[in-house]
Symmetry: C2
Subunit: 886 residues, 2 copies
């Protein structure tokens, strides 16, 4: 027979910590703690299976459940020696939700259940505190009416406020027992008036209605939204915990608090927490009274304090992780309401993991699994002061496009950004979307906030590359001229805003930021990760280890990445070198050239600039490989499209505006993503690629002469057929061998290709014949495999994720079953032709932990990600290795 | 040792007809004819291998070749009893090109080689015709100077003209022997003046220089261009034929002509040809004198005539195909210069094939292989009168986008087209590119000519669907206002032009057209094709045969297709039903609706119209399956984008222009091909698909009630994940089952999907679980697999084909090694899930013979193509079956 209810209490429990899926996190932990002898108020848990059945069967409970609840309630009453509704010594219980994954505050809770007109008298007498009893009753009525019957909470708050103003008091606690009696009486009247029924006096009726309400709250809109936002899936539902009430507000010998076995902000091994005397848990949360630090409890009640310290040590030892505990002291007796592995900041996670290894509590491997890549990422970016953050209110939320927090004055153009920063102001650049011309302003700004665009929009990609915080695609933001409006509130040029690029949150004020310092612990921790990563051995892969490279287009980025542990450059986008003063003009001149001869003249000037950039990159990455991608974007991305700008450009280039306009309009494409770009430019304008190869090889030769080791890897983008690569390889070899011969240098270069067109993946065996390496461009591969333009998916991908058609945004985390299959196909076909071929990934997915794990398993030799993601990738890679060992 | 030269003559030959690749078509045939005892002037062939070596080795001949030529020349002199350059009885030879594939007129020829100052005297005496001798000499000088030395032909023409005007004569033939002596003398002077050398008197020097020239002409620009245009690839080069000259201009007992063993225009079994007395072959070609019909030769010289008839019968019997022969009569003696399988029109090809089966000369299978699908296609379209065509000059050439010829007055807008046609004029619509609003004008026009766009542009696709001739992407056409200019010549509104959509040619005049009549022979022929096709058995495919369906959006198209043998509809595009008066407005209303409720109101009206259309289609296709694709294009394709049109639409729809503008601008996409379209619309606007399913099933039920059998197949486009299909299938089933229950009808419908997204092909095993059938949308699959936007490939695909990166335009003929691999993957994955699943193709490739063969081999059950392509597809399918048997 099915079992629906699990009892805990009296040192015994039917569940344990392993049964989270069935009993929810709270229920499983209550059972575990009970078994461990921790003083937990007894009770029972109705399983998540009941919730699943409830929704499957049109909100009907499974047969037999009600009987089981009755039996367990009896058992509880027997154990406690109290009965629900007893006029003399009534049992009071709480009814709480608790899913397998914590969803704080999203679902409903009913406290003080069992209160009625008779019980309130009994409690008053028993505790000698009539005021407490009536306050508990009125709280119960309010909570029950709201939670179980859906009554508006304001009805009750209004009653309370009126009586308070009549009594001329400010705080609830200033009301007397008689005042509260009046409150209860008016509450009950209001309840009757609205529901057309009396407030239920029968505790069983109260209990079943509350259980109903809690199960019902599993699918309230906020809970659904929370699960969506936090990617919580495949749960049966919530469990319901019915537990004996304990009260921290019985008087000055009572209290309630929260404590951590280590400091969750810093990770330091100190007992950390706070409590309130004569208060209930909700008072701590509400923040009306300022709690006391946990150390002060020692003076107040040494016995309780010592017991709490012992339990916390015990729990940490038992769970082998930092614990977050809730406790209540009822008339001098300590109860533990909850313990769980404590949430912690990134810095704390690293410190605790390293400390616990040093304390020999956990192994290095376990330590590595204890810090999530996302937490590690926090260590490399400024963050909002954790002490301040909880008091802030979010004005809107966008995509967490580039991590870290930033605060500055609003500016709306890249020019403003540069001007204001020159005047010593900190600015935050707010735009609909950024474009290549904004690079200067983006560099100057503390952070970037856009109203459109996704995780791989221009703003997002560039910001991540620069390490600048960015919140993108903030749809509620309406920008008009020199201000923006969000949810009716206006923010003007020069106003302060703060963004948290790690969470996507936007705040309408100036907020203090803190920057975690990179500690010795971190170095130790990443050292362990590297050891695991670099020793990894995989079936069929000849080379040991798994390499982390970086995407970097400028020497300064290369230096940052190297500091963060990058072992080479996996993607240097040459076209990013064409933006900036003096360069773009030259490039535009080249584009609008009427014939190859004119084009070559413009290219000659560009050659010098490219060579200089490459020399910087090669020097910064001396001793490590540098993959340079030849020109990729369509030419129209480099020229203006509106008549005014075209006219200006025509003047600069000294050509007729009409001719320039014709030229630019001839570059227009209906679907630029699928147009004349990548190696297609190399085929139709061979002189461009020739110039780039000349710049690369000349730079390499010149840097090599200084004694530095250079390993240039020339990468041809957007190859779809072996013939393209065959031709372009020959061209590049011809240019390179000429220069090497002339320079008398011994630079060893390789030539490879990106695999980013589905056809290239399918025909990778043929393409491999002409390639020294493959680099998977999973951004474009995702676009073409799905038929999704990343600039346009905003109109349906959110809906797709909501309807579970897509389980992840495929531009953030690689689509393993579709795009992933193509990657695997290409790897296996490519290695059929060249068994030892080096293969990696340079798309945005190279920094995504879930994707990194896939790439590791699929057999790639390296991933490449933006500089600030390198440490994260080192950890994610180590975790992949560890998981693959299981 | 390598052999470079192959002799033929005296009834023996070193080559034969099978050696075309080595000896070229002409050389192989000369050898074969010689062996068959046909009176061929003797000579020898220098192989194509020499040409290959020549180009490989920097224009040097292989060692030993020259010696072989000397030996063969000696053999020829011995056989003929004449020596080159002999002053008494000199041998004269021709030097001609001849590749494995005929390239008429593209390469060089030298005639009368061996003439010099002495030989001319000898010939004069020997023939008793001094005038002939000097004329032959002057022709030789002119040809040699031009071909072998690159002198401008006008130099010689000027000399000739001057002497003619001095002599006051009009024709060359009116010049006397003395006149011609003067011509020769002036020719030699001119030669010397330009080349600084005497005209060579040594026949060996003449010979080697001419052989050089002919090999050199393999790579002249016109020959290269011809091979590109005609997709001639993988040839080594040309062979060179050195052959004894025979002369048809020795006098009235001489002559020259061309004859066919059957009429190449009609295919009738009559001896067909023409000849000129006292003339050389070039005179026939030049068209100065009107040739006589071959029958008249019987009277002139019965013996020669009978001999010619006997040879022609012999040759036809030998080659088992209609022959095209060139002959010369030299002083009463018949020589055959060439025989080859004769080119023929489509109608002739069918008639000859059927007749030859009836005559028991060839089998039905052979007959089916004798008619190319392209030839068959001619039978279904008007064509330029073949008698007139050769005298026309082409003003420009575009893509042969929709077959058939059309002639009409130029109009530049769809409105003009409709107005002028209403006035009884025939028009040809000339546009940069067409768009959906032009449908009315496109229907009214005789033909469509566009200056941009490819084989799958809007104009091309719609024209093929309508069966309207179309030449697309005619780049040389510059349209400005009410005229267009092509190569400097202006054509105005109302001027006549003629297009040939089968060849892509454009003519600047009114031209007579003829429409082939569909004959009994054709029915017989296609009957044979169907027998082969429908009985085809393939490994692993349970059902026998291979089905030809049609793409049709309107009842009238369905009727045409059925007449042409379509066995169902493979693609009915529902959105095409939304264009046209009264419909587009409703659809636009639906698009701009602010919420689902408003949208439903608009959809209700559309429902009625769609239902009516579907009833028409189901009735026309009674008894056959009809695959209906739900809405596919992005919504912005249905609304205007320029402010003026938006304003007009706002008035029609009774909304504020600014609101409409916002709505329309919110629909804008950067890459619409990869945007919010296909089933993505079905997911985000379920009410649209619900309406369409309701219309389909209601129509099916109502038509079924009339006693007609209906087999609706609902097709969901652009599926990329199984989840999309799962959800949309459920929605469709819910709507359909409701209607079927209500109507009490027993309509059996199926639900399938298009496989057109690479991800769908890769995950076809998962998708198959929710699909009753697959239909490959190879247009989009090609776009996404290659990353090519078909609207934008014009900037590089032509260059790709030129450089042999692409061997075919992948939008015309399926890319077997890339897209094809994906198709095969999807077939095999899909059949893993559902072994008997019906699979077909509905992309443009469904009408391309080469693609049809691939689809047949890959295991598809059907192809679907535009109505006018159905007979072609029936033949192509039968040919595929026959080839697969080999």
């Amino acid at each position: 027979m099915a079992k629906y209810v699990y009892f805990f209490g009296g040192g015994k429990a039917e569940g344990d910590a392993t049964m989270k899926m069935l009993l929810g996190g709270k229920g499983a932990n209550l059972a575990e703690m009970t078994k461990l002898g921790v003083p937990v108020p007894p009770g029972f848990t109705i399983s998540t299976e009941v919730c699943g059945e409830f929704y499957k069967n049109n909100k009907k409970y499974p047969a037999g459940m009600e009987k089981e609840i009755r039996l367990n309630l009896n058992k509880l009453q027997t154990l406690m020696g109290k009965m629900l509704g007893d006029p003399k010594d009534p049992l009071l219980v709480s009814v709480r939700s608790g899913a397998a994954v914590s969803m704080p505050g999203m679902m409903d809770t009913v406290l003080n259940l069992g209160m009625n007109d008779k019980a309130v008298i009994g409690i008053g007498k028993l505790t000698g505190n009539e005021r407490f009893a009536w306050d508990a009753y009125r709280r119960f009525i309010q909570m029950f009416a709201n939670v179980a019957k859906g009554l508006d909470i304001h009805v009750f708050e209004d009653i309370l406020e009126k009586i308070k103003s009549k009594r001329k008091v400010e705080l609830d606690t200033q009301l007397t027992a008689d005042d509260l009696k009046l409150v209860v009486s008016q509450y009950k009247d209001a309840y009757k008036k609205i529901t057309k029924t009396e407030f239920p006096q029968d505790p069983w009726e109260q209990l079943m209605a509350s259980i109903d309400a809690v199960f019902g709250s599993w699918n309230n809109p906020q809970a659904i939204r929370y699960r969506e936002l936090n990617d919580i899936k495949n749960l049966l539902g919530t469990a319901v915990n019915v537990q004996t009430m304990v009260f921290g507000n019985f008087g000055d010998d009572s209290g309630t608090g929260v404590c951590f076995s280590r400091d969750p902000s810093t990770g330091q091994k100190v007992f950390y927490g706070e409590y309130l005397i004569n208060a209930q848990g909700e008072d701590v949360v509400a923040g009306i009274r300022t709690p006391q630090r946990i150390e002060t409890l020692k003076k107040k009640n040494a016995a309780v304090y010592e017991k709490l310290v012992a339990i916390k040590d015990n729990m940490e030892a038992h769970y082998r992780d930092m614990q977050d505990m809730e406790f209540t002291i009822q008339q001098g007796e300590l109860f533990i309401l909850q313990t769980r592995n404590g949430k912690r900041t990134g810095p704390a996670a690293v410190k605790i993991a390293v400390d616990m290894v040093n304390e020999k509590r956990i192994s290095r491997e376990e330590a590595l699994m204890r810090v999530s890549p996302e937490q590690l990422d926090q260590l490399f970016h400024p963050m909002i002061d954790p002490k301040v953050k909880k008091s802030l209110s979010v004005i809107t939320k966008g995509l967490n496009a580039s991590p870290g927090a930033a605060c500055g004055r609003i500016v709306f153009t890249a020019e403003e950004a540069e001007e204001w920063v020159a005047q010593g102001k900190k600015v935050l650049l707010v735009r609909k979307e950024t474009s290549p011309e904004d690079i200067g302003g983006m560099h100057a700004a503390e952070g970037i906030l856009t109203s459109t665009g996704g995780m791989t929009s221009h703003a997002a990609v560039v910001a991540r590359g620069m390490g600048t915080p960015c919140v993108a695609g903030c749809k509620e933001l309406a920008i008009t001229g020199n201000s923006f409006t969000v949810n009716g509130k206006k923010y003007k040029l020069g106003d302060f805003v703060t963004i948290d690029g790690t969470t996507g949150e936007v705040f309408g004020t100036e907020v203090p930021l803190v920057t975690p310092s990179l500690t010795k612990d971190l170095a130790t921790f990443l050292g362990w990760a590297d050891e695991i990563r670099t020793k990894a051995v995989r079936d069929g892969i000849k080379t040991k280890g798994f390499v982390i490279r970086t995407n970097a287009d400028q020497p300064v980025d290369a230096q940052v990445a190297r500091k963060f542990g990058a072992e080479g450059i996996g993607l240097c986008r040459t076209e990013h070198m064409f933006f900036g003063a003096g360069k773009l003009d030259l490039f535009q001149k080249m584009i609008v050239a009427e014939n190859p001869a004119d084009r070559k003249v413009a290219l000659k000037d560009l050659l010098k600039l490219q060579k200089k950039d490459f020399k910087g990159i090669f020097s910064a990455m001396a001793g490590l490989p540098v993959t340079i991608r030849l020109l990729d974007p369509p030419l129209h991305e480099f020229v203006p499209s509106n008549p005014k700008d075209i006219k200006a450009l025509a003047a600069v280039l000294n050509v007729k505006p009409s001719i320039l306009e014709n030229k630019i309009s001839s570059l227009h494409e209906s679907n630029p993503m699928l147009g004349h770009r990548g190696c297609r430019l190399g085929i139709t304008y061979p002189e461009i690629y020739d110039m780039q190869v000349e710049a690369i090889i000349t730079a390499a030769c010149e840097v090599a002469k200084t004694g530095k080791k250079v390993f240039p890897e020339i990468m041809i983008p957007l190859v779809g057929t072996q013939e393209e690569l065959e031709i372009l390889r020959k061209n590049a070899e011809a240019v390179a061998s000429g220069i090497i011969a002339k320079k008398g240098s011994k630079v060893a270069y390789t030539i490879g290709t990106m695999i980013e067109i589905p056809r290239a993946a399918i025909t990778a065996d043929e393409i491999a014949a002409h390639a020294d390496f493959f680099s998977f461009g999973t951004n474009d591969l995702t676009q073409m495999t799905f038929g999704y333009s990343r600039d346009d998916v905003g109109s349906f991908v959110p809906e797709y994720i909501k309807q579970n058609i897509l389980h992840h945004d495929p531009f953030q985390s690689v689509d393993i079953s579709g795009v992933g299959r193509l990657v695997e196909t290409a790897i296996s076909l490519g290695r059929k032709t060249k068994p030892d071929m080096k293969m990696g990934v340079c798309g945005e997915h190279g920094g995504d932990p879930r994707s990194i794990e896939f790439f590791f398993k699929a057999g790639l030799n390296y991933v490449s990600c933006s500089p600030y993601r390198v440490p994260t990738a080192r950890l994610a890679a180590a975790q992949s290795v560890l998981r693959s060992k299981k």
